[in-house]
Symmetry: C2
């Protein structure tokens, strides 16, 4: 048994079942060890941004880490944008990053870089293995670290010689980290605040947005006239027909400020205090109004399930939420294809328990609003703002939930960051329908350009935000990557194609020409 | 004049003419300032790996920096793999990385990360602007720093408020850094060594591989029976008919060791001592033989032009090289399409002064060998080993040299890292012919798997190195990105398509199905 084989044994014992991989020469023993390990499913991705995004999507749906296999500093750096999103999502991920053999680093060969420094930058936990045995032990510790709090990025650096040399044993799996419990006094203080008659909003994130917690929190909302709101970009929001009503904090700072203006108390549960996504000249970045008291029930790292139960107990509530979204079939507005009609059709046609990966950017909001009356589903968003997350997250979510339909709402500009995900969707034959929203521009930037007070833009300025010249044809790209694709130019065309996609398992792409 | 406008004024005065950009909200004032600056050409790229790779290709051909415009830590991290290659190439690049407004960072908004830390990791020089005036002054210093030695990555962090606030003045351009001169005694010591009758190889890198220096070094080789050799992955090698003969150090460690075995002296000129690309169990990583003395004429950072002239002077040589490559038309071996027949056709058909961006991986070597008898041309390679460099480098080279034909030899696996470059090629209508070598695998890894002693691979292991299931269709992808494309399955088909591409300006892609 070499170090690579010992590591794989430990990972499998630690209940890691899938590895998103883009290996190179320094990972060949790890590739070989994966090949020999029946219980580990390798998923080859053509670019490391797909690897990290897919691991994020998997973690959001499986509530446990996937492994990744990455090639040296360059492979890891390619994964960083979606690693950032995963970190903001609180997703557990276990990265295995191959490095040169330990004695080879001194030679500064072309691919050498300061790997420990960049893994520290991109991970909350990182360890470099100094022997074949340590490689396996580091794997066990990484799985444990990844499950701390709401979830973390844990990275093991695997020097090639420690993968190929003999290991005397494989380390055992480690127990799950103890959850961080919220003290009873804090729960009581929040219960008192909720009962004090002031206008109150509870801002939710992480596990607070799961169905069962929402049903309990909705009962509090019903009983105390409290508003439930989630952060602008939730990791995983369980919503739709039969589920409790949760507002979503708007993206633009002034709209977010308006949404929070009525409240005298803002209670945080599994999320940070709301701030604007960007700064704008003369506008407020801190969004809690001055007249509003900011209270924390639970930090993102603290245990949400027990906290919610304790809060209900403190408030003496035994019910579940009664104010629920109801199933509603939309009348499609007209035959033009736009975010509203797409959202209406989607809401009408999507099956129960679908998973939506939303990187729809400017188009996404209308679809979010229309689908509150869709059958119960999960909504995953761009948690860290680093674009290129939507397609990989859909891939990972589909692999975590093979019995559920996954819908990727994907803007054109951000699709081009990780378009390679389509190929892995085809290879793994996952049940993903990509709705590619082609509006031929970085539309959000056209809006932002006006908002930052950069003056009247000239043609040259606007060209830098424009995605036409040439127009992209995503149906052709999908075909080139092995995914069947169609184009829709009217809502009736989209209706037919989307309904067929919902009825047919396997990957497909519908390019919505807006 | 705001800080962004002042910076643009300074960059233009510093002779920066082009900016490869993928901006976001925090760069809107910079986008607007570029839009107002006639002398700055913006090139929109759909992914930051294209931005950095194109800036590298531009620098290799223009011998001066392009600017890049990148969005926060995530944008910069997406650029890192090709930034690594550029650093290994010794290419000057000036990065402008937008950041949140200085007062907004404290709020830890979703896109916030430790930007100074990652720019230090990815650059040899980095500075954060603390005022609108400093933003422009930092730009001047960055251009100066980028031109130090053989060229460096210089990064300016531009907080959004310092871009949008008023600047009292734009900083003047700074003088070019003084070159680092090699001492006369060192030149004399090397001249003595060359004259001592021992079997000698001069290992060349950087500016030593330019035509004029090679002509002089070739005269030394003629006069003293010295071998000229270049590193495995040269930044820019000027070669072909009428140019001095330079061997290339093989990639695989044992072949490289064989190539160096005969020598008693190894003289470094503008490159580091040769080491193997990766370590392999039981094989040597340090490639200078034990019986061979290692001497340094000039470090990569030292001035090569004056050193070469001084060496000729010390050796009392006035001639130019007489041993030159001769133009030769190849008889195409047969009608099968493979690296040899592609190389033969390419060598026969390519015009004078073409630029070749070689990321052909396992296919590239045969083409390199065939083209030594092609008309004079420049050969650019994957200097840092981080794949995904070939297409962006071709884009940047074409923009630096609008009058020259650029040929991108591109392997399939690495093409998928930065396939987005095709769109910018179409948008800028550059004269690039992409020869896409589709062999449906990470072929190099199949070779490496055997070489690292990972045992007999099973089907599952091999699947992780396989790019079929589904087969990729690069012609469809190119069409989707606005580049006209064709497919060739025989050498006669390739002959027709390649000849037409050489005769027709503008971007096109020939998918060679191998």
């Amino acid at each position: 048994m070499n170090g690579a084989e010992a590591l794989l044994k430990t990972l499998v014992e630690s209940e890691v079942e899938i590895c998103f991989a883009n290996p190179g020469t320094s990972e060949m023993q790890l590739v070989s060890a994966i090949g020999q390990t029946d219980a580990m499913r390798p998923v080859l991705c053509l670019f490391e941004g797909v690897v990290s995004g897919a691991a994020d999507g998997y973690a959001r749906m499986a509530d446990k880490p996937a492994a990744t296999l990455l090639h040296l500093g360059s492979g890891f750096s390619n994964s960083l944008a979606n690693m950032h999103n995963a970190r903001r999502a609180g997703s557990p991920i276990v990265n295995i990053v191959g490095d040169h053999a330990s004695y080879h680093i001194q030679f500064d060969a072309p691919l050498t870089s300061d790997l420990p420094a960049i893994t520290r930058w991109g991970s909350q936990w990182t360890e470099i293995a100094h022997s074949p045995e340590e490689l396996s032990a580091a794997g066990a510790r990484a799985v444990q670290a990844s499950m701390k709090g709401s979830g973390q990025i844990a990275t093991v650096i695997a020097p090639a010689d420690h993968a190929w040399n003999e290991a005397s044993e494989a380390a055992p799996a480690l127990p799950k980290a103890e959850p961080l419990m919220v003290a009873g006094e804090r729960v009581q203080r929040i219960a008192d605040a909720i009962s004090n008659g002031k206008k109150t909003v509870i801002m939710l994130g992480g596990m607070a947005l799961r169905e069962d917690n929402l049903a309990q929190l909705g009962a509090i909302a019903d009983a105390h006239d409290v508003t439930l709101m989630c952060a602008t970009f939730p990791t995983r929001l369980q919503r739709g027909a039969g589920r409790a009503v949760v507002q979503r904090l708007p993206y633009f700072a002034e709209q977010a400020a308006d949404a929070l203006e009525p409240f005298e108390q803002l209670i945080l549960l599994g999320t940070a205090a709301p701030v604007s996504f960007f700064a704008y000249p003369g506008k407020e970045g801190w969004l809690t109004p001055e007249h509003c008291e900011l209270l924390t029930l639970a930090e993102p790292s603290e245990d949400i399930d027990t906290t919610v139960a304790a809060l209900l107990n403190a408030l003496d509530i035994q019910d579940r939420a009664k104010t629920l979204h109801e199933r509603q079939i939309h009348k499609v507005a007209d035959d033009s294809l736009n975010p509203l009609t797409i959202g209406q059709i989607m809401s009408n046609e999507m099956p129960e328990h679908a998973v939506v990966s939303d990187e729809g950017a400017t188009c996404g909001l209308a679809m979010f609003m229309c689908t509150e009356n869709a059958p119960a589903h999960d909504w995953l968003t761009l948690t860290g703002g680093a674009i290129g997350q939507g397609l990989p997250v859909a891939l990972g979510a589909a692999l975590a939930c093979p019995d559920r339909k996954v819908i990727a709402l994907q803007a054109d500009g951000s699709a081009m960051y990780t378009i390679q995900a389509l190929w892995s969707m085809a290879r793994e034959n996952v049940d993903v329908t990509v709705v590619l929203l082609n509006n031929k521009s970085y539309a959000i930037l056209n809006i932002e350009l006006a908002r930052v007070g950069a003056g009247e833009p000239n043609e040259k300025t606007l060209s830098m935000l424009d995605l036409s010249r040439p127009d992209m044809d995503f149906a052709s790209m999908a075909k080139g990557l092995g995914v069947k694709a169609s184009q829709a130019r009217s809502s009736s065309e989209f209706q037919v194609q989307f309904a067929e996609a919902m009825a047919t398992p396997g990957p497909c792409l519908i390019e919505a020409i807006l």
